[in-house]
Symmetry: none
Amino acid sequence: MSNFLGSHAINMDAKGRLAIPAKVREELAHACGGRIVLTANADEERCLLVYPEPQWEALRPQIEALPNMNKAARRLQRLLLGHATPLELDSAGRILVPPTLRSYARLEKKLMLIGQGKKLELWSEERWFAWLDESSDEEEMPPEMEALSL
Amino acid sequence: MSNFLGSHAINMDAKGRLAIPAKVREELAHACGGRIVLTANADEERCLLVYPEPQWEALRPQIEALPNMNKAARRLQRLLLGHATPLELDSAGRILVPPTLRSYARLEKKLMLIGQGKKLELWSEERWFAWLDESSDEEEMPPEMEALSL
DNA sequence: GGGAAAAAGTGGTTTCTAGTGGTTATTTGT
DNA sequence: ACAAATAACCACTAGAAACCACTTTTTCCC
């Protein structure tokens, strides 16, 4: 099972190529042989999600099966399914981010790649730091979280 | 079971390397053979957390399992999982703090390492002393705390 | 209490590989 | 068929990691 951790600053070149950090590349190699699926994030943060292909294939039927008379469910489907793009690493360990996804997440040169266990998140650096600075406003936390002892 | 106590002033060099104090090194050696995980703190104090690897591995699944349609849970995941970095001590007993974590906790040259029982906290010296000076404002305390007799 | 030896902390140097950019080939569309 | 855009290939540079050497502090023994 893949286990992506940590954050990495990476640059995207003018062609939309970005080099996956070597550490992450290793993880990807034996999680999916370098076959990944890139898609949009569903919540209000405009970032991209990087799934090893098997992980994505496990998730996809669940999304497709959602009762889509519900507006929120339709939104999730359109965002996730509608942006999903299979990608492979090139010989130098880079991926080419499709223009659509690039503009969805407002990616420019400086990016951040954030490990999230079974997947990775790809943010524009600017947006990532802005999100970090947001006050962790008084959202109510789920009971599992209140019980945590870090 | 590890049991980190006390505080130590330490210096980070220009490359981001910092020497773990010998006392702490001993504790680490037989808690995890020197294999540690460094990550960000979840609350508003921007410091880093140092876990012996087994401790972290006990915690990680709990964090990953949080219901991440919830905003507060997502924040915790992005901070903790998204910054977690496994590290090993070099031949001189030092660790290299990744640039991402260095900037998150605003670490410069002078740092403080604070024992917290099962983990350690790593602060910029400046922020540590500033925090000490903060008024412990009238937050209400949990019942377990009210029952304490120091 | 002083000196010596060992350990701890600090800094620099070299080597290697990850990351970057450019160039050529191929494919697709007009 | 030709042109433009995309994809694969190759070469170079810069940054990171491992190695090594030195200085300073502490502890133990005389």
